[in-house]
Amino acid sequence: MNMAIRVYLLLFIVLSYSYTAFSLYEDQVGLMDWHQQYIGKVKHAVFHTHKAARKRVVVSTEENVISSLDLRHGDIFWRHVLAPTDVIDQIDIALGKYVITLSSGGSILRAWNLPDGQMVWESTLLGPNASKPLLLVPANFKVDRENVMFIYGNGFIHAISSIDGEFIWKKELASEGINIQQLIYTDGSDTISAVGFVGTHRFGAYILDVKSGELLKYKSMEFTDGFSGDLSLVTDDTAVAIDSIGTSLVTIQFHDGLISFHQTLLSHLIQDFRRAAVISPSNIPGAFILETDNSVTLIKVISRGELKVVEELGHATAVSDALFLPGGQQAFALVQHRDGKILLTVKLDSDDGTSNLLEETIHLDNQRGKVQKVFINTYVRVDRSNGFRVLIVMEDDSLFLLQQGEIVWSREDGLASIVDVKPVVLPVEKDGVSVAKVENNLFEWLKGHLLKLKGTLMIATTPDDVAAIQKMRLLSSGKSKMTRDRNGFRKLLIVLTRAGKLFALHTGDGRIVWSRLLRTLRKSETCQSPRGISLHQWQDPHHHALDQNPSVLIVGRCGDSLDSAGLLSIVDAYTGEERNHMEPVHSIVHIIPLSFTDSLEQRLHLLLDANRRAHLYPRTAEALDIFQRESGNIYWYSAETEEGTLRGHSVHKNCVLEEADNFCFDSRDLWSIVFPSESEKIAATATRSLNEVVHTQAKVTEDQEVMYKYVSKNLLFLATVAPKDVGPIGSVTPDESYLIAYLIDTVTGRILHRVTHHGSVGPVHAVFSENWVVYHYFNLRAHRYEMSVIEIYDQARAENKDVLKLVLGTHNLTSPITAFSRPEVSTKSQSYFFAHSLKTMAVTLTAKGITSKQVLLGTIGDQVLALDKRFLDPRRTVNPTQAEKEEGIIPLTDSLSIIPQSYVTHTLKVEGLRGIVTVPAKLESTTLVFVYGTDLFFTRLAPSRTYDSLTEDFSYALLLITIGALVIAIFITWVWSEKKELQEKWR
């Protein structure tokens, strides 16, 4: 009998081990989450290829990333994301081992170790007035055996040692009001020149002693026609600029302190010159590139400032800087588009004209747009001739390395600048598309199951086994299939990037299903600087899910101001095809998705323009009919942060326009709230998510009392701070700082709750869900961050506990509620100290709203922390009673403790974190979380554990084995006991 107990115990232990795996094990990483690293659109690139074992390219990007990329595969060796305010101006490589970056408008100079990206030194270059930042790293120039580089920033020229960032000398140059455009140093000379414009009509040149910084000469000369735009350096003593009216080119020669101008009419150089010529910033010694609206021309400066057109380069072209070849020649790369292909030309530039060194055609998919930037690099081929590789940046921000007419690697770096995200369900699995695979042969099958068993019993120790198990799990889970799954984990994430490209990412593994550069969001004649604003679910077929695809609405704007013309486009979510697009329409300030759909299941949208008109989409008679029926119950609000007012609006009547438009409606103001400009400034607003589901409207407290949640979709949380607080840190003292939190009904403009936090300042982050709002701010008095929670309860229904009424149906629980009734609400609130500074906040959403909520906090360290709402309960008390404890109330603490395991991103960082999107899965316990910034991260969360399903890696085999073992054990013990009984009988 003892034996049997032992067997049972053993089995029990084994079983209990296999069930308690709630947290993540090392081999489970990547099973339901993925992380992608990006760098953003490349601004500058410096190659580092000679005598280096690992060939690399150092890039700086518009996302403020400095990164070293593997030239063979495009992988990231190392990467640093600088603060958004610390914009990188220039990069270069010094001493062959340091990457030098100049950032913050020429104020901060840093050196990073090239192999591993460690920061070596940092220097701050301060000065009185902002100026164009310039960085010049001479190849081999030394002062006292120290390598020196020159930096111009904030009106000062600095000579700085490359080794340690020490100042060698500095000299102010801005005293004359000069706007320095270029620094010139010729190898081996004793002087360094700084040239620029004084005002718009004068050219000035400083000549300084390179060793001491002593000013040797300053010359300036007036040019009567004036200059416009930047100065472009052609050789060490020649520069070109365009005159102020834009009709002629000015060649400026400054040799040894003598300045001379030479003017050439553009119409002489270019055949059909009309207007708007720009000198492209490419740096090709002896020549420059002139771009007009219909041509790109390479122009050479010959003796005495004469100009000569060398070559017409055709349309839509990008040109690289010049590259010096070992033989003293120079080459530059040129990229043109021809018949949907890319034509790469490397030109050799010599004294007697140019010749083509290389001509290659590369086929790129047509969703990349035009080439924006080219960077060239050379290498020595097997036959000792010069080979070239180029790095190109495309219109969709992607990065390509081309070599020998092929794409060596590509990076989708547009994904580093996501503007908006919208989840879309995948198609329903159709009959006949069975994905169930039969294992190849018995041996494989056995091996697989042995590995699985090993994994479950945690005896797989070798890394190979672990990797094999992981791979097998990935395969068996089928999570990257392109069909809907029962639990709703597989979805498509449609993301819009700043470049105007739309991507569909699969939630299973993060791969790009399709991508499309939207025609609507590309630069055109009618729209000069288009940009995407937001994505909206346009059509979400439920009844026609088998034969119709869902679609998304993309809203954009021409230009940055709110009153610029709007752009609309509707894209099929499964194929990426543009179904419909509208050319520049009325301005778009706000988009309201209405809760009505037409017979095609297209959602009605109300687009508000800058003139306070509302435009209805889709523009069909049916939609208009639905809208007019419901228009009496449509209200919206607008917050004007500048004026400090909040207004409520409703639809009034059709617009009075020159041409009648049935789909345009005038709005009228229904209410307004005026925040006194001298004492309050709007800092943050938060509303409930439109698709949030609230499961229960009542909350039962420990003493069997019912509290009704005030669940209204029209609640707005708004926080105002003292107007002084908007300034930099320290501009407000604790005594004069305060933060006021409001809860406002947006239909009637009632202020339901108003509460003041003295001594608190912004920035305020808030999240609104169900009947509670959680907000985060800084408490100046306590010198700590603080988080507060407000819960709002409906008192009007508090008496509504009459069971008889409920039975008879005379209670008012199901009667329609109008916002015009006077609400009787009560609030409960509590504040807690919190350790982290935040970037963004979100809340988990589940399908039915039963699962308890977690607040997701995007911390300043670019991680995501999941905090149970329980911790932010306003009913926490210091000594909860037994009944309260049973209800799950935690004893009150002063601050919210952070449990290290509650980091959703575990050890990973989502660099440059900007937003968190939560999507409910079909499985009630689970919510999908997508975090975006420069990096992307996706995972699945179960705030109350997966109470409604077995985990995906649940081993059914083990369960069967266990049952089998139990049956055997029962049999054995039965035999034993029989035997024993028999023996006892015979005794």
Binding site: V674, P676, V755, A796, T818, F820, R822, V878
Partner: protein
């Protein structure tokens, strides 16, 4: 806890208010100076209990008496304007209040009184039209009471049908204040508004007005440190209370024990019974023979 005490005080005050009002209705021009202590709450002026015993004439008398009242704090007057649907705003009534200056430089309003102008014939017509068309009745107040010119107004609207649910018109103002600034006004019926709204023009063209001034309340942080010390003491106390009964503590042991005892007892009782009544009786003979055999075997050992 604090809110309940305030509520208690308030309810006491309302009671007092009712009593006083009932008392003063007979002497129409008697001053109600006893109400001075409502300043203490800084909360409201002439908020009346929900079923108002009288219509507005009472407030107008009260206003006059207030004017003759204290002279330390300045008096302030501002207008309520209304609009019918799309019409322009026109004066509709006057609010009067006392401006109380606090030592810390803050200013608050107390003793708010409101008198509504009588509705003109056109107003009535307009109002009827609103009720028929289920349109909005709009009101507005200046956003700054001291410097009313050039400032914005705070607007509020309500469906006219919501005001006209009984014979007369009922309205309820909650004016949200910050010093002398009006942040917003919550305007609507004093109770609920039924939905769907029914068109029912009032029979009596007068407003029952209820007004309430509301200032912001401060966040009170539950001090955890101070009570943490108490908490330690409390913990010591807390160890004692779970003095549960013996039965509550050990029931899980007692029940099996009881069962075992009972089992043993029945067995012990069975044994002598079997010995005594081993003969066939009215029960099944097989069962008895079966039972009889087992002890027989045992005895053989």
């Amino acid at each position: 806890m604090a809110t309940t005490t305030i509520a208690q005080i308030l309810s006491c005050f309302f009671l007092l208010n009712i009593v006083l009002q009932l008392a003063t209705t007979s002497f129409a021009f008697q001053s109600d100076e006893l109400l001075v202590d409502d300043d203490e709450f800084g909360l409201e002026g002439g908020r009346l209990p929900d079923p108002p015993p009288e219509t507005r004439p009472a407030t107008s008398t009260r206003r006059r008496s207030a004017e003759s009242g204290s002279d330390l704090d300045s008096k302030i007057q501002f207008q309520l304007e209304h609009a019918f649907g799309d019409s322009d705003f026109s004066p509709a009534g006057t609010f009067t209040a006392r401006l109380k200056k606090w030592p810390n430089g803050g200013q608050t309003l107390t003793k708010l009184r409101f008198s509504r102008n009588a509705l003109s014939q056109t107003d009535k017509e307009n109002f009827k039209r609103l009720i028929e068309g289920d349109d909005f009745y709009q009101i507005r107040l200046p956003s700054n009471l001291l410097n009313q010119l050039g400032r914005e107004h705070v607007i509020s609207s309500v469906k006219a049908r919501c005001l006209s649910q009984r014979d007369a018109l009922d309205e309820h103002f909650v004016i949200n204040m910050d010093g002398v600034n009006v942040l917003g006004v919550n305007y609507g019926p004093p109770g609920s508004c039924q939905y769907p709204r029914v068109s029912r023009p009032p029979t009596k063209w007068s407003f029952n007005s209820h007004t309430l001034l509301k200032y912001s309340n401060e966040v009170l942080r539950t001090p955890v440190f101070t009570e943490a010390v108490l908490g330690e003491n409390g913990e010591g106390e807390e160890l004692k209370p779970p003095e549960r009964s013996f039965w509550a503590k050990y029931w899980m042991y007692l029940i099996p024990l009881g069962l075992i005892v009972m089992n043993a007892m029945t067995q012990a009782m069975n044994l002598p019974e079997e010995q005594g009544t081993g003969q066939p009786g009215s029960q099944g003979p097989q069962a008895i023979s079966g039972r009889g055999q087992a002890p027989a075997v045992r005895r053989r050992n």
